[in-house]
Structures are given as structure tokens and as C-alpha cells.
Amino acid sequence: MADVALRKVVKRYDDVEAVRGIDLDISDHEFIVLVGPSGCGKSTTLRMIAGLEDITDGDIMIGGDVVNDVPPKDRDIAMVFQNYALYPHMTVAENMSFGLRLKHYPKAEIKARVTEAARLLDITDLIDRKPKQLSGGQRQRVAMGRAIVRNPKVFLFDEPLSNLDAKLRVQMRIEIKKVHQKVRTTTVYVTHDQVEAMTLADRVVVMNKGRIEQIGTPNELYHKPATRFVAGFIGSPAMNFIPCRLEDFGGALQIRLTDRIAFALPPARAARYNALPRSEKLLLGIRPEHLTESHAHLGPGVESFDTVLDVTEPMGMETLVYFGLEGTPVCGRVDPNAGAADGAPMRLAMDLNNMHLLNEATGAVL
């Protein structure tokens, strides 16, 4: 087990810069998730840590040693691939023990390790089968088993759950978390699924266009996003961004969304945003769960307004409502019994205590 560090790591393909100078410190035992849209450089970063891609510039350190020129086989890492990459001509046991056999471990120890990993992953009964006789979830377990038996310094996961159906994905997600709780190996996990990132990670690294947008715990990213990209990427349905500007109204600060709709800011927010120029083009960032049905006793900082719904989506435990604010589509989350209907008028409440204010030009959260 070891810590991993990336120092100004760059990856350039001919004229495309896939990774643009990444700095990242991963401490021992930590579970780090790299998340971002496709093409953001997260998989490339993982493959550079694995040694499957050369790095153009910068340093990668595993356990304090620079491994830039160390081939994958000498990095003491294990990787789980998206399509599992199990050796089709080997049985499950042979697949799992392949690395150990190459390193000439004693037979008894190989057997012990494979048995232990199979027990941990609940695949003891499958040990003599070939990969084609396994289901997707079982193959995934074998791929993890192959990583675990090696007892490496670092686990690398490259979108391991993307080939599974939704139900199995949730199940395997929990499985991976359990395994990490038992094995405690430093883990770098790549996914494009923000739910996976939020549920698995100790810390999440949000990447976009080859750069790191923000590093933080799942809660930090959710409640204190640093940029518009992070605010929009984390959370489902995504955060709403409504064009707005600040106004002084009777000695207080208020935020104007449309000609008709303007809300007084709660005192804490007013103090925070008071110094901003009033002419600046801003975006109000508000998550759907902070746009709910209005009721008689609204708390401080919660403001209500009338709108006409375009579309409603009943989800069972909640209903998603969609409406427009001067052309900007907005999504809210209301109680299924609140009477929301397609095309019907509705009075909604916005919780401004949980609002974010963004600079429209730079995308920075203010």
C-alpha cells in the first residue's frame, strides 16, 4: 500500500493535449474517484498511473518513488478494466492467479490467496469456470479478484461498472465499497457517473477538458462547488442556472430574475454578495430540491413565486416539474401530492439559503 502523487502531469497526442498539467495527492488507503464527461482526460490519467500510457511531462510517484519510466509490470499496481479483460482461455482460478504464477509464488500461497479472494467476493463456486460461462456481474467480481490476490500498492478501476445493467451496477457499487473497507488498498477509480463518484469516494476529483476543476469530499462538491462545471455536473437532475442581477431595493440587496420576479436575499447571502458590482451579469444556481411547492409558513430566506408548469415527471417519491423563466428551462422537485400537472399553474418556493451565485462570463462560483 502506498500513496500516489501526480506533479504537473501532461499528456499530449500529436496536437491534442488530453491532460493539461494535473497535480494530485492521494494518500495511503484513500479511495479517490476521477469523474468527468467523456474526453476529459480521466481515463488517460488513470492509464498514466498504470504505466499503459507514457507521460509527456511531469512526474508520477507511487510510494514516494518516481515511476515515470517504470513499466507497468514493475509498478506493483492492479487494474480492473471496463470490459473486464479476463483471459478467455483460462479458468477463473487461472485468471486470478496469473500474476502470482508469473512471479513464481509458491503453489500453496497462490492457492491460499485465490481461495481467500474468492471467498471475499463470493465466487468460490465459479473458480473452475471459464469467463464465457459467467454473467457480467460475475466477470466483474473475477476481475476484482485478479486485482485483490496480487495485494498491490494501488488499485486502479477504469469505469468498471459501465457494462452492467442499472440494478447490478448499484449492487456492485456497494460490493466495491465493502471490499475497500476490508482491503483498504489505495484506490483510484474512474467513472463518468457522478452517482458512483459520490457514493464511493473519500474524495472526488472532477475533471473537465484535461484539467482538474475541483477536488473535494462528495459533500463539499455538492454543497460548495467551485465552478459552474462542477455545480452542473454533480447532482441529478442538474442544478438550474438562471440569469439574474443584483439590485438595491430599499436598503436591502435583492436578486432580480425576471421583470416580475425579484427576491430579497437572506442576510448572510446579502453580506457575502454586497461588494459585487450591480451591473455584472450573474447566474443564480439553484438545485431542483431547493425549488419546491410553496406552503403557508415559509421559513426565512425562502421566497415563493407563481409559474405555469410545462411538463411534470412523477418519480414516485417525488415529482419533477419543468417550467420556463424568460426562456430559461428550470427544474423543481415537488411533493407527489402537491397537485402538479402538465400545463397547470403552480406556486413554488425557492430556498435562497442554498443558492449559489455565479459569474456568467467566468463560470466561477462567487
Binding site: 499503459l52 514493475d74 499496481i77 478494466f81 479483460a85 482461455h89 500474476g99 464465457k132 496480487r150
Partner: protein, 312 residues
């Protein structure tokens, strides 16, 4: 597609008169349709393969003048001839040596070509296929020139190093060497192209997984490439073994079986015995000997191919 056609046929049938129903039913069955679709090929195979095969069995049981049935006496006569057993040995040596070298060269070159990036790879692939696409009779004539003892490019070049002149086609060892060399030159591209296709079908991630598991290049070839290519290797080897075993043109043009019958194969010897020496039954008898030998080889090589079928 066939399903749809059959379904449409069935719909049309419901409106048709009843007395023709059974015939139409037979026509509508999938197996019947399939049979008629393959009938042209079946007829072609019957005409060009089955008929000559059985005819040669029949011929092999006649006397030299083809007037009398003599049973197996042609075979017993062959078994007593020294030359026959020499041809058996030579055919085996020729086929096995040539196939092993074709496979080895094909495998090595396929690896090199596989690692050439994109566009350049197409050019190399095209160039390396040339020996295989030239009609072998023509290319062998060119080789015949190269092997000429007095004026050839080979002996001329070797003379600068103080070697030779080598009697390429006049000495037993060199004649055997030469026919095998030309056969390898002609057949290696086939292995190259088959192995290249097989290499391309091995997912890169298996190599990446192996690299992370700690495999070096040799271990990757031994534990990943070869097992993944097993079926292709088996089928290609069998196919090439058959074609090489039955080779005629190269030996016929280069040596005509000489010197002293030392390069004869089944096909060339059958030709000499049957056509040139006008003993057609004996020639048919010689050519029939390829069947049991190749059948045994096929059983051994194709064993497990079905079982391994689609492990991936």
C-alpha cells in the same frame, strides 16, 4: 431474411387451393428452401469432387491396360517398391518442413506488420502478399532462373564471397532445399495474413492486463497471443498441410522430381507414373495415398477446435 420470405409464402398459401397444399407446405419448409439454395453447390461438388474421387478409386483397381479388375494388387505392388516409400518420406519431410517454416515466418512477420502504424501497414501488407497472388507456375519459372547453376543471380552473388557455384537443383540436398524454399516463399504470406487477422482480433486490453499482471513480451506471446490464436493456427496449419502435401507445380517446374526421384511428392510421382509412364491405375493408386495420411493429420490438428470454439 429467409424467415420473412417463408412467412410471406405462408400468408400467400392460405388463399391457394387445397389440393396443392402439401406440395406447397414442403416448399415452404425452411430445410427445403435451404436445400434448394445449396443445390447448385452440391451439384458442383458432386461433379467436380465426388465423381473424380470415386472414379480414381475405381481406376486404382484396374490393371495397367485398364481392361481387368485386379482388386488391391496395385497397392501391394506399390508397397514393395522402394521409390514409393521414398516418396512417402519426401512428401512428409517436404510438407512438414515447409509448413513449419511458413508458420514461423508468417507469425514473426505478422507481429512486425501488426506493429506498423495505420497507413504504412496497408502498404506493407500489400507488398508482402505479392508472392501469394502471383500464379505459382510463373513465379516458379523466375526461381528456376535464379537457381540456374552457371548464370543465376544467386551463384553470381555468392561468387563474390568465394562460395559456390552451388548446384541448386542438381544435388539431392540443395534440390530439396530449393523446392522447400520456393514453397515457403509462396505460402508464408497466407500464414501472414491469417495470423495478422487473428492478432487484430485479440483485444488490446488483454495485453494491458497481462502487462499489469507482470508479463514480459515473451510471456505475453506464450500466455495470451498463442492461446488466443490456437484455432486459427490449427486451421491454417491443416489447410496449408493439405495444399503443401498435394503440391505439384513447384516441384514439376523446378526439378520434375529429380535428381534421381529425390524431390518427388505424391502428386508429381503420380503424374509421372500415371500420365508419363501410361500406368493410369498405378498413378491413381499413388494419389489415393494422400487421403489416409491427411485424414489422420486433420483429426489430430482439429481435435478440440470445436470445443474451444468461442471461448471469447
Amino acid at each position: 431474411m429467409a424467415d420473412v420470405v417463408v412467412e410471406q409464402g405462408r400468408l400467400a398459401r392460405t388463399a391457394s387451393p387445397r389440393k396443392r397444399a402439401s406440395l406447397r407446405n414442403a416448399m415452404g419448409r425452411k430445410s427445403t428452401v435451404a436445400f434448394f439454395l445449396t443445390l447448385p453447390l452440391i451439384l458442383l461438388i458432386a461433379l467436380l469432387v465426388l465423381y473424380p474421387a470415386f472414379y480414381s478409386v475405381y481406376l486404382a483397381t484396374l490393371n495397367k491396360a485398364m481392361t481387368k479388375f485386379v482388386g488391391l494388387s496395385n497397392f501391394t505392388f506399390l508397397f514393395k517398391r522402394e521409390t514409393f516409400w521414398m516418396v512417402v518420406r519426401q512428401s512428409c519431410i517436404f510438407a512438414i518442413t515447409a509448413v513449419v517454416f511458413k508458420a514461423l515466418i508468417g507469425f514473426i512477420v505478422a507481429h512486425f506488420v501488426h506493429n506498423i502504424p495505420g497507413k504504412k501497414q496497408r502498404k506493407w501488407r500489400g507488398m508482402l502478399l505479392v508472392p501469394w497472388v502471383i500464379p505459382p507456375a510463373m513465379s516458379t519459372l523466375a526461381w528456376l532462373w535464379l537457381f540456374d547453376p552457371s548464370y543465376s543471380a544467386f551463384n553470381y552473388t555468392l561468387s563474390f564471397f568465394g562460395v559456390g557455384p552451388i548446384p541448386w537443383l542438381g544435388d539431392t540436398f540443395w534440390a530439396r532445399f530449393s523446392v522447400i524454399l520456393v514453397n515457403v516463399w509462396y505460402g508464408a504470406p497466407f500464414f501472414l495474413i491469417m495470423y495478422l487477422a487473428a492478432l487484430k482480433s485479440v483485444p488490446d486490453q488483454l495485453y494491458e492486463a497481462a502487462a499489469i499482471d507482470g508479463a514480459n513480451w515473451w510471456q505475453k506471446i506464450w500466455h495470451i497471443t498463442l492461446p488466443m490464436m490456437r484455432n486459427i493456427i490449427a486451421i491454417t496449419t491443416l489447410f496449408s498441410l493439405i495444399v503443401t502435401f498435394a503440391n505439384f507445380d513447384i516441384v514439376r517446374i523446378l526439378t520434375s522430381g529429380g535428381p534421381l526421384d529425390r524431390t518427388h511428392l505424391f502428386a508429381t510421382w503420380a503424374f509421372q507414373v500415371g500420365i508419363q509412364s501410361s500406368d493410369i491405375p498405378l498413378g491413381a493408386c499413388v494419389s489415393l495415398f494422400m487421403v489416409p495420411i491427411l485424414a489422420v493429420a486433420a483429426v489430430f490438428i482439429l481435435r478440440d477446435v470445436n470445443k474451444r470454439g468461442n471461448e471469447a
